[in-house]
Amino acid sequence: MINIHNLSKIYLTKKGKVKGVDNVSLTINEGEIYGIVGYSGAGKSSLVRCINLLERPTSGIITVDGVDLTTLKSEELRQARLKIGMIFQHFNLVSQKTVFENIAFSLKAAKVPANKINDRVEELLVMVGLSDKRDVFPGQLSGGQKQRVGIARALANNPKVLLCDEATSALDPTTTKSILKLLKKINSELNITIVLITHEMDVVKEVCHRMAIMQNGKVVENGNVYDIFASPNKELTKEFIESVISFELPDAILEKVTGTLVKVVFKGDVAGESVVSDTVQKFAVKGNFLHGSIDYIQDAPLGIFVMELTGDRAEIKEALKYIEERTAHVEVIRHGV
């Protein structure tokens, strides 16, 4: 649905050139929710804003549904934007217009006949759960309600793509959950491709199918969200994962550990404990669980255990090999003394 090829965005500022996006290539498939994570300044907004040409790429090609937006004339670009919805961190509603008028704006832009606008707005309000707020001004709405209006405005013309730039970053955790739930519903019921930008790994874990991690304008790692959680390759990725799934052990415990400290990741329904107990029987090693949890990446379970293995060095090596074969990922955190 969205093809990004060697995209760079360079800003010319008084202090010189700033690389917002640095040679990024990504493919976002139709119907998926694609997450882009990174710290502030990583280039996420620059990247997503190039998709609907709020920023013009300095070089590279982006196509949305097969169309390269940079080749369009202004009226054609406007038409193309009707099919690419966008929501924002600070909602960006017209404060002096009612909820109805804010949503109707999109429909007027698409030249929807006046007598059809009312019905369509009502329909959208039902979808986002704000039927009773039709004639209210944004100032009287909560953050979550404002974002719902933003979503209704973005979806008014049945877009193929919805771009979300930190759409939940200004919301509290409960409201974030409800907005994410709505986005999930939109994705599955309307088959709208969603590109979701965030600095919160929670959000990705909650709703995204695939993801990319950005730093300094570059994509450092990308892939299936579950696989990335199960076996992250880059330090930055691990850092982000640890912000939502923590396996940190208290120092007091760590001091007592003398054996080899390993982290074992189990995918899906593999029974983690049984693999470990088999290992302990098969090899001359002792296992000691220090930390364990099962997390759900959307609906798929992911088990992560931290344990201490003690025994002969060669035996431990064999045992690790055996565990590796039967689980998703084994990582030695610290070798035994």
Binding site: R78, I84, V94
Partner: protein, 222 residues
């Protein structure tokens, strides 16, 4: 200083007429300022760098003209525009004639105030309208004007207050008005009664305009 009530009563008709002349001049100048200044202010804003109708030439030419007119002292403008005044209203004397230079001065003044009001709009809101596929005209009508409405009303208030002061100079071309009355009687003839009365009228008038203007600006803000 001396305040002579008898003298005041005698001059009530004259004060009355002057006040109406002031209202007349201000009304015309304000109407012209809104008709021309509003679009000019909008045009300067939307043709600026990074905005949706970015156009360096239009922006700079308009900005230059606005600055130029604003830098000319009003008394000079008043005299310099006599030919234009004659052409437009077929007279160079009286309140009607004075309305022309007042209007010319008020247009760029108000245009800058409109531009300032537009600049206060959160750019994200404009950007959201662009992302939604809004046409330039829709963005002006449904985003810029509503969002800047309160600021534009404050701009109108400031323009009226400024016109009250400027219109006092209209006496140079026999424009009349309350300010002119104050100068003629109070300043040249040392008529304390008229001076005090007109100054009080002007003070009350300006306070009232400001009060009403602020009330409206607040009332329209949602």
């Amino acid at each position: 200083m001396e305040f002579d009530v008898q003298h005041l009563v005698e001059l009530i008709p004259e004060i009355n007429e002057s006040f109406l002349q002031t209202l007349y001049m201000i009304s015309i100048a304000l109407a012209v300022a809104i008709i021309f200044g509003l679009p000019i202010g909008i045009l300067i804003f939307i043709t600026d760098k990074g905005l949706f109708l970015q156009n360096g030439i239009v922006n700079q030419v308009l900005g230059f003209i606005v600055n130029m007119i604003r830098s000319i002292p009003f008394i000079i403008l008043l005299v310099a525009l006599i030919p234009l005044t004659d052409f437009l209203v077929n007279t160079t004397i009286g309140p009607k004639a004075a309305s022309v230079p007042l209007s010319v001065a008020a247009i760029p003044f108000f245009a800058r105030l409109v531009e300032t009001a537009l600049r206060k709009i959160d750019y994200g809101v404009i950007e959201a309208a662009i992302a939604a596929g809004g046409t330039p005209w829709m963005i002006i009508k449904d985003v810029l004007l509503p969002e800047a409405k309160s600021g534009i009303i404050s701009g109108i208030t400031i323009t009226v207050v400024s016109l009250v002061g400027t219109s006092a100079m209209a006496g140079v071309v026999g424009g009349g008005g309350i300010g002119d009355l104050a100068i003629r009687f109070g300043y040249y003839r040392y008529d304390d009664t008229i001076m005090i009365t007109t100054v009080v009228i002007l003070i009350v008038f300006v306070q009232l305009i400001q009060l009403i203007g602020d009330k409206i600006a607040k009332a329209v803000d949602k």
